[in-house]
C-alpha cells in the first residue's frame, strides 16, 4: 500500500508540473490565504482580548490546525472526490471497482496534488507561532494528545467528504463538493463563536468541530484534556464506520455508465 501511495505521489508531481504558471499562483495563493487568515484574526483581537473564551494564541493555533488538515485534504482527498458525481454519471468508477485494492481507498486516495503540502508545512508553522506568541505552555502529553486529535480530525474530514461524494450514487446530478467547501470555512474559527444550535450541528451532524476546534483546544489548554481526546477518537471511529457503510451501500447501487 505504501509503495502504491509513493507511485501515486510521483505520478501526481509529474502531472502538476504540466501547469507551471498555475503552480506559481497556487503557491502564492497558499501564502496569501494564510496571511489573510492571520490578519483577520489580528483585526478581531485588536478590538477584544477574548473571542468566545479563546485567546489570540489559541485561535492562531486553531487556524494553523485548520490549515494543516485543509492542506492534507487538498493534497490527498479533494483531487479524487471533488466533482465525484461526474465519475458516477459517466461510469468511470468501473476502473476503480475492478482494481485489487479496496475501492474506497482508490476512489478517495487514487491521485494526489502535492502542492497543498506547502499549506501543511505553513500551517504547522502557524501552530508553533500561536504557541510561542500566546505564551502557551505545552507538555509532551498535550502535544501527543494534540497529534492524536489532529489525526482524528483528518479521518473525520475524509469521512465527511466520502459521505458527501457518495450521495452521487443516489442522485447522480447532485454535486455536494461546493457544499463541502462552504461548510469547511466554518472551521476557521472556534465553533464556540456560533449560536449554540450551530455549534451542536457542527459537532454532531457536520463534525467540523473535530477538525480544528478540539485539537486546538487541547494545545491551547482552554478546556481540552482526556475527555476531548476521547471525543475526537470516538468521532473518528464513528465517521470511519459511517463512511464505509455509506460507500458500500452506494457502490451496490452503481451500475456503470447506465447508473
Amino acid at each position: 500500500m505504501t509503495r502504491l501511495l509513493g507511485r501515486i505521489l510521483r505520478l501526481s508531481i509529474q502531472q502538476l508540473t504540466a501547469y507551471r504558471a498555475n503552480l506559481v499562483f497556487e503557491g502564492f495563493l497558499t501564502l496569501v490565504r494564510l496571511a489573510a487568515g492571520l490578519v483577520a484574526l489580528g483585526a478581531v483581537f485588536s478590538q477584544t482580548d477574548s473571542l468566545a473564551g479563546w485567546s489570540l494564541g489559541g485561535t492562531v493555533v486553531l487556524l494553523g490546525t485548520y490549515q494543516v488538515v485543509g492542506g492534507l485534504m487538498g493534497a490527498f482527498i479533494q483531487p479524487n472526490l471533488s466533482f465525484f458525481s461526474e465519475q458516477v454519471r459517466e461510469g468511470k468508477l468501473d476502473d476503480i471497482l475492478l482494481k485489487p485494492v479496496p475501492s474506497i481507498f482508490m476512489a478517495s486516495l487514487g491521485s494526489c496534488s502535492p502542492w497543498p503540502l506547502l499549506q501543511v508545512v505553513l500551517g504547522a508553522g502557524v501552530v508553533a507561532l500561536g504557541v510561542a506568541s500566546g505564551g502557551l505552555t505545552t507538555s509532551s502529553l498535550q502535544v501527543a494528545c494534540y497529534l492524536l486529535q489532529l489525526g482524528s480530525g483528518v479521518v473525520v474530514a475524509w469521512a465527511y467528504l466520502v459521505v458527501l461524494a457518495s450521495a452521487s450514487f443516489w442522485a447522480a446530478g447532485l454535486e455536494l463538493n461546493v457544499l463541502y467547501s462552504a461548510s469547511w470555512q466554518l472551521g476557521r474559527y472556534p465553533v464556540d463563536v456560533y449560536h449554540p444550535a450551530i455549534t451542536c450541528f457542527l459537532t454532531f451532524v457536520v463534525p467540523i468541530a473535530f477538525v480544528s476546534t478540539y485539537p486546538a483546544r487541547t494545545l491551547a489548554a482552554s478546556g481540552g484534556g482526556p475527555a476531548g481526546v476521547g471525543a475526537s477518537l470516538l468521532a473518528a471511529a464513528i465517521s470511519l464506520v459511517v463512511a464505509n457503510l455509506v460507500w458500500q451501500a452506494g457502490t451496490r447501487r452503481y451500475t456503470s455508465a447506465t447508473s
Binding site: 507551471r20 497556487e26 489573510a36 489580528g42 483585526a43 454535486e175 450551530i198
Partner: protein, 256 residues
C-alpha cells in the same frame, strides 16, 4: 446600443433558463456565497456584543455578496481553454455580452434563492437601516456589482496566458475577503490597512455599500467614496479592454 441591449437580454434569459436546470447546484453556490458574511457576523457580534451597526453591516453585506457574485473563471475561462470561444468571436456582437448575460442571470438566481435567508436575517437584527441610507447605498451597490464583474472577468482572461486561471482568481478573491470588508468592516480594520482599503478597489466591490447602509459613510466621505468607486470602474474597464485585445491576438483555438 439598443441592439446590444437586446442581445444581452436574450443572453440573460437563456442563461437564466439554463441555470434553472441545475438549481440544486446553484443552491450549493448560494450556500457557499452566504457562509463568509454569516461567519463574519457571528465572529464580530461575539467579539463586540451589543454593537447593532455591525449586525446591520453584515446583513447588508450578505445581500451585496449575492448581488455581486462572479464566476467568470469557471464560466468564461473554460471557453478559452476548450476552444469554444471561437464560436463567440464569430458572433455579430461584442464577446463580453455573453459572459455578462451569464453573470446577470447567475446573480438573479443567487438573489432569488438567498432572499428567504436575507428576510430571516433582516427580521432577526435588532436595528433597521434608514431609508435614506439604503437609497444612498443603492448606486454604490450597482457600481460594486459592475466592479466585481470587471475584476473577475479581467482575471478570467488570464486564461489566454495560463493553463489554469483558478490560482489567479483565487488570489483576487482572497484579497476581496481581506480588504473588501468581509473579514472585518473597514471602520474596524487595523490602522495599517485602512489606507490600502480606502485606495484599492476591493472595498468598493463589496463592503462600501454596506458601510453606507450602516450609516458609517456620510457627507464628503460618501462623495469621495463614490468618486473612487467610479474611477475604479473606469480603470478596470480600460484594463479589461487592454487585456482582451492582447489576449485575443494570441488565441489560436484548439489545435492552433
Amino acid at each position: 446600443m439598443r441592439y446590444n441591449l437586446q442581445v444581452l437580454a436574450q443572453y440573460v434569459r437563456q442563461s437564466f433558463l439554463e441555470w434553472n436546470a441545475g438549481r440544486s447546484f446553484t443552491f450549493t453556490l448560494v450556500v457557499q456565497a452566504v457562509v463568509p458574511p454569516l461567519i463574519g457576523l457571528a465572529v464580530w457580534t461575539r467579539a463586540l456584543p451589543g454593537q447593532d451597526l455591525i449586525t446591520l453591516y453584515y446583513a447588508v453585506l450578505l445581500f451585496a455578496r449575492l448581488l455581486t457574485v462572479s464566476y467568470e473563471h469557471h464560466t468564461f475561462s473554460s471557453r478559452i481553454y476548450s476552444g469554444n470561444l471561437i464560436d463567440d468571436l464569430l458572433r455579430p456582437h461584442p464577446v463580453i455580452l455573453a459572459p455578462l448575460g451569464v453573470n446577470l442571470a447567475v446573480r438573479l438566481w443567487h438573489v432569488a434563492m438567498g432572499l428567504p435567508l436575507i428576510l430571516v436575517v433582516g427580521m432577526l437584527i435588532p436595528v433597521r437601516p434608514e431609508l435614506g441610507s439604503l437609497l444612498l447605498a443603492s448606486p454604490a451597490l450597482l457600481l460594486a456589482a459592475a466592479l466585481q464583474f470587471l475584476f473577475t472577468y479581467g482575471l478570467a482572461l488570464t486564461a489566454f496566458w495560463t493553463e489554469k486561471a483558478f490560482g489567479v482568481v483565487g488570489i483576487g478573491q482572497t484579497l476581496i475577503f481581506l480588504l473588501g470588508g468581509e473579514a472585518f468592516p473597514a471602520w474596524l480594520a487595523p490602522s495599517a490597512l485602512k489606507p490600502a482599503m480606502n485606495l484599492l478597489p476591493f472595498r468598493y466591490m463589496l463592503g462600501f455599500p454596506a458601510e453606507i447602509a450602516a450609516g458609517q459613510v456620510t457627507g464628503s466621505a460618501l462623495l469621495v467614496g463614490y468618486g473612487v468607486q467610479l474611477a475604479w470602474v473606469g480603470l478596470m474597464g480600460l484594463a479589461v479592454a487592454a487585456i482582451w485585445r492582447s489576449g485575443v491576438r494570441r488565441y489560436t483555438a484548439v489545435g492552433g
